[in-house]
């Protein structure tokens, strides 16, 4: 999960990387006070966990407290992608001469972490790679031994950073490495990394993506994450996620329950292939295979669902266990909903028998037949 900039900067600062003095505010009056206290001009930046803020007008330079207040009034409550802006960062403006790009990510094909450096920072890295291919240099690093300072220096010089600033950029990358390892991060990126005329290095932005799978072993990171305000309003997705389910809400009229990420995605594809459209889908694979009933209840909060497609292909997740949960929920609360089953794999003989006995319907012979029946049922229900 991507941390908001101000939280990412706290991580950087804890690892000795210099960040501008700043305040987090949530009202125009606080923004004006902060700008006055920090000195002018100052920078006002929306705090949402997403990139591309500058281009969208979410980063502004203000030259008076009144302007800070007006800008804050404009930005607070505005929407940025899926997020509503509820906090702003008011920050000292740092005079500087050069802007570089540094980051640590992983390279899935090499299967190692990589240090990344480009001499030209400031724009999104995807754009940088598009406009100046080859300008982002990468150094694979051993997670066990850590980076070799000499190799990091070669990376930085090779990327075209002027020799005068090289040492400071190398030092920052080595600190960034500690930050990456200590935080169990998936990505730490500073863009831009600014160099002042006096030779000072400043992280003017921070993009830190933590690994949700690792949060349980980092108390301090957990506290940091807890501070990230719920930037999205409650959605069907977030309600399901709170109960440990993946639910994806789309814009059609068919509800899909499937097990496993690949099968769920393929089910959406096949529904579209036959001209249907999915309202919402929920996945019950992995450890959720015993929670079919809960999944159906979460899914059917979506009032747009006119037919239900249950697509099970069991391996680890036994289809008889999954089907029993689904059938329980249908019999308890959704007897009238047209439902189609496709059942294959582990436990399928028992699962098909169970559906026949308890619901009085037969599972479709193939997934494609089930998809087509679900589409027809949704159409029939609409008429």
């Amino acid at each position: 999960m991507l941390l908001e900039e101000h939280l990412g900067k706290r991580l950087l600062a804890e690892h000795g990387i210099q960040v501008p003095v700043s305040s987090v505010v949530s009202s125009p009056a606080e923004a004006a006070d902060a700008a006055a206290a920090l000195g002018l001009p100052a920078v006002v930046k929306i705090q949402v966990p997403a990139g591309g803020r500058g281009k969208a007008g979410g980063v502004r330079v203000v030259s008076s407290p009144e302007e800070a207040s007006a800008v804050a009034d404009e930005l607070l409550g505005s929407t940025f992608g899926a997020f509503t802006v509820s906090t702003l960062l008011v920050e000292q403006r740092i005079e500087h001469e050069r802007e570089h790009y540094v980051a640590i990510a992983d390279d899935p094909l090499r299967r190692t972490p990589v240090l990344l450096c480009a001499a030209e920072g400031g724009m999104e890295v995807e754009e940088l790679e598009r406009t100046a291919p080859g300008s982002v240099r990468a150094l694979p690093v051993s997670l066990i031994d850590g980076p070799d300072p000499q190799e990091v220096a070669e990376l930085v010089l090779g990327a075209g950073v002027a020799a005068g600033g090289c040492d400071r950029v190398v030092e920052t990358l080595l600190r960034l490495w500690r930050c990456y390892v200590d935080s169990d991060a998936e990505l730490v990126e500073v863009n831009p990394l600014a160099l002042s005329a006096g030779g000072e290095v400043w992280a003017l932005d921070a993009k830190c993506a933590l690994d949700e799978a690792a949060l349980a072993r980092h108390d301090l990171l957990g506290e940091l994450v807890a501070q990230q305000r719920p930037a999205r309003a409650e959605t069907p997705e977030s309600a399901a996620a709170a109960q440990g389910f993946l639910l994806v809400s789309l814009d059609g009229d068919i509800g899909v329950v499937a097990n496993g990420a690949g099968l769920t995605m393929a089910t959406l594809d096949v529904v579209q292939h036959y001209g249907g459209s999915v309202a919402s889908c929920i996945e019950i694979g992995g450890d959720n295979y015993t929670k079919g009933a809960e999944a159906v209840e979460l899914l059917l909060r979506d009032g747009r669902v006119r037919s239900l497609l249950v697509n099970l292909c069991g391996a680890f997740a036994r289809t008889d266990v999954m089907a029993a949960g689904v059938v329980d929920a249908l019999l308890a609360n959704h007897r009238d909903l047209p439902t189609v089953f496709s059942i294959h794999g582990t436990g399928s003989v028992e699962a098909r028998a169970l559906v026949r006995e308890r619901l009085g319907i037969s599972a479709a012979r193939t997934m494609d037949a089930a998809v087509q029946a679900a589409i027809d049922a949704a159409r029939g229900a609409r008429v």
């Binding site: 299967r111 169990d184 690792a214 393929a266």
Partner: protein, 297 residues
């Protein structure tokens, strides 16, 4: 191929064997002929699961049995320590089943594996199957509607979709030379390209099937190997309709910044000469046509 599937007689260890799922799947793996010779469960040494002796450490198991492979049923946060323990005890092939292994744990495991020239499948894989010979993991290898010995090599990121595809193949009268699940994480030990090349190198394989999904660049990377493979490739890429910016269940399945889209993968595979089908149900027919073309040559 020898590197990516067990050779006849290879001994298999099950780490975490006393867990409920692990003991269930140990019996299932043995049912299809897998040589499960030992299990490890710290603190449970001396007991037995399905007749298989259990040890406290991998080193003890290795000292008593010939062990070439280990299947790890360990919880996500315990997987790195267990995997490194197995590698340091000299086990050369690991199958990591756990989902939600932290990314840096995976990178650490893979670094130790590289140093020791060991093979890792996963994490977040359903495992591998050689129909008629063995199964390492949680695929329904015992189900004759889904797995039969044959000539189709299947590589899949997903266990559930892989299962469906194997079922379609058997329904069409085909069978598999092997199934390799590479796993749904963003970083995995064996890539789709490596698995594809191993399958193509297997004598029995006449056609290879690639089940990809959105996210990452493994399918594009695999496409680069298709032309020189020596066997035709039929592929399906799941997630064409997946909305961008959302993880679709697998940690690796996310389209972001225009990267990882299904369309890019489909195009790369088609340009390399693979047949890419629109739905999983079209796979079997496409495979049959590919076998026919090959046979007619």
């Amino acid at each position: 191929m020898s590197e990516l599937v067990p050779a006849p007689g290879d001994g298999v260890l099950v780490q975490g064997i006393t867990g409920r799922q692990a003991s269930f799947w140990t019996a299932k793996m043995r049912e299809v002929g897998t040589e499960v010779v030992a299990g490890v469960s710290p603190g449970r040494g001396g007991s037995k699961v399905d007749g298989v002796p259990v040890y406290d450490t991998v080193a003890e198991a290795v000292s008593e049995h010939g062990i070439e492979w280990s299947v790890l049923f360990t919880p996500a946060l315990a997987t790195a320590a267990a995997a490194v323990e197995a590698l340091e005890a000299g086990v050369e092939h690991l199958v990591l089943l756990a989902e939600f292994v932290p990314r840096q744990d995976t990178l650490r495991i893979l670094e130790v594996a590289r140093q020791r020239r060991a093979v890792v499948l996963g994490p977040n894989t359903a495992g591998l199957v050689v129909p008629g010979a063995c199964s390492l993991g949680i695929m329904p290898a015992f189900d004759r509607e889904i797995f039969r010995p044959g000539a189709v090599g299947v590589v899949s990121r997903s266990g559930s979709l892989g299962t469906l595809v194997c079922l379609e193949l058997v329904s069409a009268g085909l069978g598999q030379s092997a199934f390799l699940g590479v796993g749904g994480d963003a970083v995995v030990g064996t890539t789709t390209r490596e698995a594809l090349m191993a399958l193509a190198g297997f004598d029995r394989t006449e056609v290879a099937v690639v089940i990809g999904e959105v996210g990452g660049t493994m399918e594009e990377d695999a496409a680069a190997a298709v032309r020189a493979l020596g066997v035709p490739v039929v592929a399906f890429v799941a997630g064409r309709t997946a909305p961008p910016g959302r993880k679709m269940g697998h940690a690796g399945a996310i389209v972001s910044g225009g990267r990882g889209s299904a369309q890019g993968k489909v195009t790369a595979l088609r340009e390399a000469g693979a047949v890419v089908v629109e739905t999983p149900s079209e796979l079997a027919a496409a495979v049959t046509r590919a076998v026919g073309r090959r046979g007619g040559r």
